[in-house]
């Protein structure tokens, strides 16, 4: 765990958006070094960051104990610094370093552990990407073919169920909808490719509640297969969770197979309005006889995988696995999501900011 900034130290983005930079304020900043100028008593560094370029001033007398590290900074180094806003003798607005800059090779740990809001979000996105990568790799080894889905549609069938996110952007000329899931595209891919297994890595958009760790936008990996029964499917899901736990940085929990609860018996009442929303799968495959949803709930309430098996006429089973990348973040004990563990006790789910 790194030291926690005193409350008055904010990222330079905070200062940019909340007030103009004022002399004497403390701030932190990260970026790429584009120039280094050295004098007898100071080193001047130009740092390129998301909002522009800022001059940094490292004072030898103040950073004497770490001066060697400061002198080793080169152009194209990526650094994070903390300092006080002030002016040079020539009046140039600069950030005067309080501490030795942190170099890029220690960024990841700092980002994953940081209490700072800007870093927390970046840390979360790194973990989500990593979890997705592992899931994608796993599905490839299980002979799933990857397809890329589309997200935007100008119309959405007005059925009961998850409500897609509506985008009112004047440039489109009409409201458009962001897809809650790529399920129908995968069904069509199963039919069109002749493959028995397809998957996609996607973003799911909805205004409907799912889980506390989900947002209106969720990173999912969805896989669809023909011929897998629910038992085979659960074995596959268990292996997937094991792979993810092995690969995630900072994951402190391990979940042996015995700790996974299956809840198919509680899911029977969840299937709604079969007759109205069969659409693509009914069109592609024979008539549906039933749908068995399932959900894998880990012992601390984390629900990383959900899905279903559709039973069709003539013994065809179409199975779907949905892996929610954000939901494994509490397992990584990531600061942003640690608090969410407290809210995951029950089986009922919801998400942030949506109905």
């Amino acid at each position: 765990m790194t030291d926690v900034d005193p409350p008055e130290t904010h990222s330079i983005y905070y200062h940019r958006f909340n007030s103009k930079l004022t002399d004497g304020e403390r701030a932190w900043l990260f970026g790429v070094v584009t120039a280094v100028r050295k004098s007898k008593l100071s080193t001047f560094i130009d740092l390129l960051h998301a909002l522009g370029t800022t001059q940094l001033v490292a004072d030898k007398s103040k950073l004497a104990s770490t001066w060697t590290s400061v002198e080793s900074i080169r152009i194209r180094d990526r650094i994070k610094i903390k300092g006080t806003i002030g002016r040079t003798q020539r009046g140039a607005l600069s950030l005067f370093l309080d501490d030795c800059p942190i170099l890029a090779n220690t960024f990841l740990n700092e980002t994953l552990d940081s209490n700072d809001r800007d870093y927390r979000q970046i840390g979360g996105s790194i973990l989500i990407a990593q979890a997705r990568n592992v899931a994608e790799e796993f599905l490839r080894t299980q002979n799933y073919r990857r397809v890329d889905p589309r997200y935007i549609s100008a119309s959405w069938p007005s059925e009961q169920g998850m409500t897609p996110l509506q985008v009112n952007y004047p440039g489109f000329g009409m409201p458009v909808f962001l897809a809650p899931s790529p399920a129908e595209q995968l069904v069509l891919a199963l039919a069109a490719t002749g493959d028995d297994r397809v998957f996609c890595s996607a973003t799911s958009f909805t205004t409907s509640y799912r889980q506390p760790s989900d947002g209106s936008e969720s990173s999912i990996v969805m896989a669809m297969s023909i011929g897998l029964g629910i038992k085979d499917l659960l074995v596959q899901c268990t292996s997937l969770i094991d792979k993810i736990c092995e690969a995630m940085p900072g994951v402190t929990c391990r979940f042996p197979s015995g700790s996974i609860r299956e809840e198919p018996h509680t899911m029977s009442d969840l299937v709604t309005s079969h007759s109205t929303n069969l659409k693509a799968s009914a069109w592609v495959f024979p008539v549906i006889n039933g749908v068995e949803p399932f959900r894998i709930v880990l012992e601390n309430g984390v629900t990383p995988i959900e899905g279903c098996v559709e039973h069709h006429d003539e013994g065809v089973d179409v199975a779907t696995i949905v892996f929610y990348a954000e939901r494994v973040l509490p397992l990584a004990q990531h600061t942003e999501f640690r608090r969410l563990l407290r809210h995951l006790g029950g089986p009922i789910v919801a998400n942030t900011g949506a109905r």
Partner: protein, 462 residues
């Protein structure tokens, strides 16, 4: 007809609620087969509320009147003497056109400074790591919520009330009656009754900001349900009912325009009353709410006639408050502004002309009628436990801070509808306050929205 697509989930459920039924929020688990995903939508259940009417006793009326007036008008009783002798000047204003961007600027400012500035982290730094207490911490914060909640809301009681809702993963729904119409006291406002201004819009923005803050600690979020009470009070205060309807619609338009549908619902208090009554108010034969109101009204009138000292004192306080809320604008054409100011403040002056005396008598009479009607209506709501029985699973909020209810953020010395919106910039801060017109000192710029009656906001020349 309202745009159905722009109605909130609560508003749709409210529109479908049957007579003498309660509205209870639940959360379902559903599997969406089209999307192959589980989700958990909010749903509303309707349950019949058994309504029985027992004759309202005099003792019940006295006890509840006294506590009602103490709760609702305590601040007025404390503050009325201090400003009684300040004659309201007409503010000197230069007129301009508003851009219409001001509400969006304020929304951005509030989201940036209250939600994404680290302020919430500071507020919660000293609060126990318990969701209910963190929610209360935000509600009590001076900038986000209302600091008076610290004294008025008992933390243990609040947690006991809220925890079951959190356990069921329900959204927190705060209900409160407010936003009747623009006050027609010419010393407070100068816009027509159907026109909300920047003060009302600022209140919507502050409620939305508080919802955003609550989302930071409560993943299911929070809703504010505004029960517009203009229709039920229009006759009492001498404002056309149509104006109250237009005011509510205009407020809803602003809500939609600012895209606050995710956190604010707007419905009408008269619908709640109709539901309790079992039929439209005033229809013959009378419904239960009408009958109870009538009992209370009769009790109050006889208590007043009999000179019950406590009741007289309470009703007098109420009558003074009512006079200030009456539509007085048309008297300006018959008596001087200064004289109307004294009458509205219930200050008698020597050597009044007969005309002024007759206006004073008329206004006082209207004030007494309004006081009895206002009390009868509100005591009837109490009699039926309207909020807890008909809206279980909701939390009672209030615009007037009082014990046991959650005060909403304050946007100035006046309630938004009792004043005008005054915009000011202090450095990087953007401040919108609701102030009585009579509180505007010095020269002001006055801004109106093109094509709309009345004024949208004021700005001091300084």
């Amino acid at each position: 007809m309202p745009d159905y697509d722009r109605l909130t989930t609560f508003e749709k459920a409210w529109a479908n609620c049957q007579l003498q039924s309660s509205l209870r929020q639940t959360r379902l688990q559903r599997f969406d087969h089209s999307n192959r995903m589980l989700y958990s939508p909010v749903s509303f259940e309707y349950a019949p509320v058994p309504v029985s009417r027992v004759e309202v006793t005099t003792n019940w009326t006295v006890d509840n009147l006294l506590s009602f007036v103490r709760d609702e008008f305590a601040e007025q009783a404390e503050s009325s003497d201090a400003d009684q002798f300040r004659i309201a000047d007409v503010p000197r204003c230069l007129d301009h056109s508003a851009t219409g961007d001001e509400p969006f600027d304020y929304l951005n400012y509030c989201e940036r400074s209250l939600i994404y500035s680290g302020h919430i982290d500071k507020v919660l730094a000293n609060v126990e790591c318990d969701m209910a207490r963190q929610i209360l911490g935000l509600l009590c914060d001076n900038k986000l919520g209302n600091k008076k909640n610290r004294n008025n809301v008992n933390a243990d009681e609040f947690c006991a009330r809220v925890q079951p809702l959190l356990d069921k993963h329900l959204r927190l729904t705060f209900c409160f009656p407010a936003f009747p119409f623009k006050d027609q006291n010419p010393f407070r406002t100068e816009s027509p009754p159907h026109q909300p201004d920047l003060a009302e819009v600022a209140m919507l923005v502050r409620l939305h900001s508080l919802s955003l803050a609550l989302w930071q600690v409560h993943p299911q979020g929070a809703d504010w349900v505004l029960f517009c009470d203009g229709l039920v009070y229009a006759d009492i205060f001498g404002v056309p009912k149509q104006a109250a309807i237009q005011y509510r619609e205009r407020l809803t338009w602003w809500r939609n325009h600012l895209n606050l549908n995710g956190s604010i619902s707007i419905v009408d208090l008269s619908d709640l009353v109709t539901r309790i009554n079992g039929k439209p108010i005033g229809e013959s034969p009378s419904g239960v709410f009408d009958l109870v109101s009538s009992d209370i009204r009769n009790n109050l009138q006889s208590l007043r006639s009999n000179g019950h000292p406590d009741v007289l004192r309470a009703l007098t306080t109420l009558q003074i408050g009512m006079v200030r809320n009456l539509n007085l604008s048309h008297y300006l054409s018959s008596i001087p502004r200064e004289e109307l100011w004294y009458i509205s403040r219930s200050i008698e002056r020597p050597n009044e002309t007969d005309k002024i005396k007759s206006v004073r008598a008329e206004i006082n009479k209207r004030g007494w009628v309004a006081a009895i009607e206002y009390a009868a209506f509100n005591l009837s709501l109490r009699y039926f436990n309207a909020w807890s029985d008909y809206l279980p699973c909701t939390l009672r909020a209030t615009i007037k801070p009082k014990a046991g209810q959650i005060a909403v953020p304050s946007v100035g010395r006046a309630f938004p509808w009792n004043g005008v919106g005054v915009l000011s910039h202090l450095g990087n801060e953007m401040l919108i306050e609701a102030l009585s017109l009579s509180d505007l000192k010095g020269n002001h710029h006055r801004f109106s929205l093109p094509g709309q009656e009345g004024y949208f906001y004021y700005m001091s020349e300084r």
